[in-house]
């Protein structure tokens, strides 16, 4: 019985010209989004690889110079991309692409693509994820808003019920029919996705991308399944198909257009980010209150000298078992590093708290939950950014320590003309960053996953409850 109903529903949808047109349009957009995302990923990846080589060569090719000057020349770290970012560009356009690593301060990533972009940027990007999050629910609404209400209006519901069909079977059949139609719609896109991701996955040789894609698909199944159930429920409840449509469209507008903006705003009100100017002035003041790493005659170092004299039982700075100027550089760097780490930790923890509020909002608007999950799996959310920035910061601290440490341990005190060369530059390994794997992502996305499961569960319960009570009038 259910299979018969499902087949009838499926055929009806497939034969509906409007639904076919809309579905074809959405499918075209999905495939186009996948292809364009893949092109962008490939281009950016190539560029980043080349840039990494170049900055490494630039570092190694530095002419012989004072190691501290070499550290000041610094190097750049570039945030890598995950293959799944072709489906969801997340915050990538709004965060910097390159991180300058230099002594005495920790920088934020520079060059946000959105700053160079046009006014269109604020309309968002119709990525593959966005198509599934925003457009596919519209298709679902279109093919299901009349499923019960339309039958009520045309009188066929009374006939079907009088034929002895259980309301529950009817609902089940309709759900399966819709599911089959959607599967038909999504099949080509899924094939395309697999074709696009496979070479990248095979090249990297790990299961991570496949696991991410699988979890993302499961997430979308919950999201879209919930939408289908909700539409069936509203259609069963509403007295007319027009009312059902209005309610569903209203929910769609609230969920897909209004909720992200409103929730981001609310998150900002709960945990205000504060003023960048204030923050900047505070951190530069704190850094300057510390010892001056460029001037060993600073009062702080005079007292430090006395301490060291006592410790090593010498009376002349030249008798210390290391270069005092080098120690100055090392210790000053340690101080400023701590100051800046505190500063960034404060800022980043506010952002993470805001993100958490946003994800909690996913309990009310499932779009927020699936969007967060999608960005997390595509490694285009803030947590990934923070992970990268912290890794780069460790490398920066090491670079400064290596260079200053060389002066401290291998340059005689007072020798101002000492130069180091490629031998020293090569002792610093290249910055090798690997993104955390999918398990780390899931641990961070617990709220989103729960919200999606709750969404599906709630819609299921509502649909079952309403379907039981469906009446032909």
């Amino acid at each position: 019985m259910i299979a018969t109903i499902a087949r009838k529903e499926f055929l009806e949808m497939v034969r509906d010209g409007r639904a076919r047109a809309a579905s074809a349009a959405v499918l075209a957009m999905l495939i186009a989004a996948l292809l364009m995302g893949w092109k962008e990923f490939r281009d950016v990846q190539t560029e980043i690889e080349a840039a990494k080589q170049t900055v490494r060569q630039q570092w190694l090719a530095q002419s012989p110079k004072n190691p501290h000057q070499a550290a000041h020349y610094g190097t750049y770290a570039f945030k890598p991309r995950n293959p799944l970012s072709l489906a969801d560009s997340g915050i990538n356009r709004f965060t910097g692409v390159a991180l300058f690593l230099e002594p005495h301060r920790q920088n934020d990533l520079r060059f946000r693509p959105a700053q160079d972009a046009t006014v269109l940027e604020r309309f968002g990007q119709m990525t593959a994820s966005a198509t599934l999050e925003i457009l596919l629910p519209l298709v679902i609404i279109m093919i299901t808003f009349g499923s019960f209400a339309g039958e009520k209006e045309s009188g066929t519901l009374r006939q079907v019920l009088s034929a002895g069909v259980q309301p529950r079977s009817l609902a089940c059949g309709k759900f399966l029919g819709v599911g089959a139609a959607l599967a038909l719609l999504l099949a080509p896109a899924t094939v395309m996705g697999v074709i696009v991701i496979s070479p990248i996955t095979l090249a990297s040789g790990s299961w991570d991308s496949i696991a991410r894609a699988a979890i993302l698909s499961a997430g979308f199944l919950l999201y879209l399944g919930g939408w289908t159930l909700l539409c069936l429920c509203v259609s069963a409840w509403a007295s007319s198909s027009r009312l059902a449509l209005v309610i569903l469209l209203g929910f769609w507008i609230g969920n897909c257009l209004v909720a992200p903006r409103a929730m981001a705003d609310i998150a900002g009100r709960f945990h205000p980010s504060g003023s960048a100017l204030e923050s900047h002035l505070k951190v530069t003041r704190e850094a300057r209150e510390g010892p001056d790493g460029h001037n060993p005659n600073d009062p702080y170092w005079r007292s430090r000298k006395q301490e060291l004299f006592k410790q090593y039982k010498v009376s002349n700075v030249a008798d210390l078992p290391f270069n005092f100027d080098g120690l100055v550089a090392v210790e000053a760097e340690k101080y400023s590093t701590e100051v800046y780490r505190r500063h960034f930790r404060e800022i980043w923890s506010v952002f993470e708290r805001q993100d958490r509020v946003y994800r909690v909002g996913g309990m009310a608007a499932p779009m927020l939950a699936i969007q967060s999950l999608s960005m997390g799996l595509a490694s285009t959310d803030f947590q990934q950014q923070r992970h990268f920035a912290e890794a780069a910061e460790s490398y920066r601290a090491r670079m400064a320590l290596d260079m200053n440490g060389y002066i401290m341990n291998h340059v005689r005190y007072g020798d101002r003309q000492a130069l180091a060369g490629r031998d020293l530059w090569e002792t610093l390994p290249d910055f090798d960053y690997t993104m955390p794997d999918v398990r780390w992502v899931i641990a961070n996305q617990r709220v989103s996953v729960t919200a999606l499961a709750a969404w599906f569960g709630a819609c299921f319960i509502l649909a079952v409850w309403r379907a039981e009570r469906v009446r032909p009038v």
Partner: protein
Amino acid sequence: MNFRHMIFHEWRLLRADRSLWVLAILTVLLIGYGIRNGLTWVEFQKQTIAAATAEQKARLENVKEQLIALESSNANFDPNYFRDPRNPRAVNSVYGYQWALLPPSDLASLAIGQSDLHPYYTAVTASSRHTSAQLDELQNPLQLLAGRFDLAFVVVYLFPLLVFAFSYNMLSEERENGTLSLVLAQPATLGSLLLAKSLLRVLYVALIAITLSVTGFLAAGVHWGDQGVAFAASAWTLTVIAYGLVWLGMATLVNSRGWSSAANAITLAGIWLVLVAIVPSVLNVVISTIHPLPSRIALVEAAREAQSRALTRIGQLPGPSGSIDMDERARSSLIQIITAEAEVLPVLRRFDEQLEKQQQQVKLWRWISPAIMTQLALTEVAGTDGERYRQFVSATERFRARWREFLYPIYPRRFTSADIERIPRFSFEGSEHSRYSAETAFVLLAAYGVGIVASLRFARRNFT
């Protein structure tokens, strides 16, 4: 039944519809929320600008006092000590730099546009803009991605829905209720009926547009006396009215096709979805793919290459506490900066050209959706579309040149308290244009006119 009767009757019908009142209240709430968000952001900007101004004033006074004290005590001057305000390099990066400030324009709270992405305050030092760190506002990138719930969002996304709500069943409802034939049995033509209904709705649209605009202006505390403000405000209002009217025109056109109310609703919802929700974001992806943004990474690499080459040519600067002549050291570092910049200039120029190309593409393609046209126009009037920011960046660069002219001659000697008095000051006067809003309003109004004429012809065919 004359024209006036028809309008009056139509007004009574709309007034009696309770769902429209609910919608009106909801709209008022959303407009209020949108205005409030815009105001919060602009207030924050103004506070930051005031804080920067105060910090600069306090800092310069402090430095002057320190200089006077150091000069009278004639303390020992070590040119490598970076915490001495007599050191010109320290004056450049720590003590004497000026803030370049971009104050929000009068209407900036109505459309946040790009203003939360573009830095509105910069510390101008002698270093090039492209290599020095930029102070971006502390904003969660997720919020930047989600966008702002400002008045422009309410106008561009939600205003059309409101217009549809009271016009989707203009004619179809009369036919479904059976009253259309009764009305037409009076000495009233279908054309005059349609015009009467349209005219009333035009008044509604204008009323809503003017109300939300004026509320926005009042809340923003616009200074009507300022130059160009009255013109900008009228441009804004006219654009909003024209935008509402183009959707009204679409609703009228769809009605004239003679379908049922439900079919009208679905069609109009579909048009809205395509033109507002889908086309702009798809166009964004398409333009980014076909005309990608020039690569900042390439720019960074070129700048570093240039810097290395400059360094190699001039010779290495010694490490900390070098005993080399201050003159030579200062000269070397100057030459280094200037040489490196000269090398990077061609790359920068190419970069700017590519940026400009992308901007042009968007300007060209904006005609495919009223939402894009209107967003561009509204942000232009509010001064938040990036044009004002580009003017600010040019002003900053001109000031940077003045700063270098002032500071570089001082490099070989010490900075004195007399020099403090001569420090150049930054000032910026932006000019807003309303070119896009004028064009947009004109095009939208013309589209409305065309829509009405077409509706009359279709209606005669489909309803009689």
